[in-house]
Amino acid sequence: MSWYYMVLLFALIVLSFSAVLVFIRIIVGPSLPDRVIAFDLIGTITIGMIALYSLITGLTSYLDAAIILSLILFLGAVAFAYYMKKSHKAKK
């Protein structure tokens, strides 16, 4: 267990607690956009965690998953925006 490993582990733990914090926002809301943004942030944090994990294990192939996540996260936000727009119109 090198000090570097400990740092990474620590970083990973910090990230997972960050995820918990953001998670609280998803639960609390109050509005849908709040949740969407928080959700997006959780995705971003996951990217960071995957990167750290690939450092911990020394396996770079995990980064591919992170790439995909970074590409696709945004789709969720766009879809939610689409939803809000549609349901807003429908309400009118």
Binding site: A11, L41, F74
Partner: protein
């Protein structure tokens, strides 16, 4: 040496993310959270990626890390914009301490007309 550099960058990145997570919980309204926070996480991830690239010291990894960075750089502001816009349209309220809202003014027809008048005046 490499490890030290990598660790430093990563710690910075992680802290950025932690701060944005705290911000997401603490900050008062949606717009502030979006404008202040989510980008911080992007920067945090960018730092972590830098740390990864430094540590592995490998072309493939550097490419991947920069790809993640570039993708986030392109997508996250768009996501923020698109959600913020939808939120505003949907009537998500602004914080009570918000100073002014020129968008609302614009919609009410106050701003756009003034400006165009001014411009017209100048041209004349």
């Amino acid at each position: 040496m490499i490890e030290l550099a990598s660790a430093a960058v990563i710690i910075i990145g992680v802290l950025f993310i932690l701060i944005s997570a705290i911000g997401v919980v603490r900050l008062p309204d949606f717009y502030i959270r979006v404008s202040a926070i989510t980008k911080a996480a992007t920067l945090g991830v960018a730092c972590i990626m830098l740390g990864v690239a430094i540590y592995f010291n490998d072309v493939d990894v550097a490419l991947k890390a920069s790809a993640i960075f570039v993708f986030l750089l392109i997508t996250s502001p768009i996501a923020a914009h698109i959600i913020g816009r939808a939120a505003y349209e949907d009537g998500v309220p602004l914080w009570k301490k918000t100073a002014f809202d020129e968008f609302r003014d614009f919609r009410d027809g106050k701003i756009g007309n003034e400006e165009s008048e001014e411009k017209q005046n100048k041209e004349e």
